[in-house]
Amino acid sequence: MKYRVHVRIVPRAGLLDPQGQAVEHALGVLGFTGAGDVRVGKAIELAVDAGSQDAAEAAARQMCERLLANPVTEDFSLTVEA
């Protein structure tokens, strides 16, 4: 069965995120003064063929650990839909 996997990758907390800082600055310039702590990451969507939702999640987790996210600099989270 095909499962839809959404991967969310963000720079590790505490790591300098110059893109986030630049976006935060631009938001301030636009008058959105309440916005802060901006982090810029990436979203990856994929279809995973697996026997169960748990198996799909396990496979996606391996993909993240081996390729999609860099364990030195990024944190990832997953959601899996049938």
Partner: protein, 230 residues
């Protein structure tokens, strides 16, 4: 004559510069395509600068899984020498042959200019021609050159003297931790750095301050290190 293989990925663009610098220093240079798994019995492998696989996902992230990198992993594991320059350094970090990672420059600009760097480790195959503490101007050209690693790793690198190149104070073009421009493994057989000495390896391009890296390589004796096998 010492044999040096320069790996070409789709998007490598400093491959000829590296080839020329190696040949000019008196070693035998050859190219190896990213689909090849035969390093042609090279003593030294150079991963050159560029934008392998378009820098998709992260710089170096796709290249590390290319067929040639399986051969480079075996070569490195057998004690063979590997030098990664710029994108090559990013690939070595992604492949976990070197610790840490290279992330977006802290000022978000693509840094492309000569900067002052200092040689801090000279007992490697590619820095032996320099005296420790030598400072020189070498070009950088990168968008993702900010070296980061966790505090324990930085402490270890400093304690073991594995910072090979460091930006001179005030010259750090990208926000790298501790002004680190390049690091090595403990044995000094795997080295990666962001500056491009191959661009300053011939007076024709304005300076040959970087030629010493390639003279070091040409003069290097592999010693007991096993030669790579396909």
């Amino acid at each position: 004559m010492l044999r040096v293989a320069v790996v070409r990925f789709p998007g490598s663009n400093c491959d000829w510069d590296a080839y020329h610098a190696v040949a000019r220093a008196g070693a035998a240079a050859s190219f190896v395509w990213h689909r090849d798994t035969d390093l042609q019995q090279a003593d030294v492998v150079i991963l050159p600068g560029g934008f392998s696989y378009g820098d998709y996902l992260r710089s170096g992230a796709i290249a590390r899984f290319s067929p040639v990198m399986q051969a480079v992993q075996r070569h490195a594991a057998a004690g063979g020498a590997v030098l990664g320059i710029c994108n090559g350094f990013q690939i070595l970090c992604e492949a976990q042959l070197l610790p840490g990672a290279l992330v977006r420059n802290n000022r978000l600009t693509f840094a492309s200019r000569p900067v002052w760097v200092r040689v801090e480790r000279t007992d490697t195959f590619c820095t032996s021609a320099y005296a420790r503490g030598t400072e020189m101007r070498i070009p950088v050209a990168h968008g993702d050159g900010c070296y980061v690693a966790d505090a324990d790793t930085i402490t270890l690198l400093e304690a073991e003297g594995r910072v090979v190149l460091r930006y001179v104070r005030g010259e750090n073009p990208n926000g790298s931790v501790a002004d680190i421009a390049g690091v090595s493994n403990a044995a000094g057989t795997i080295v990666g750095f962001m500056p491009h000495p191959e661009r300053y390896a011939d007076p024709l391009t304005g300076s040959d301050a970087g030629a010493g890296f390639f003279r070091s390589i040409a003069a290097w004796l592999p010693g007991g290190a096993a030669r790579s096998t396909p």
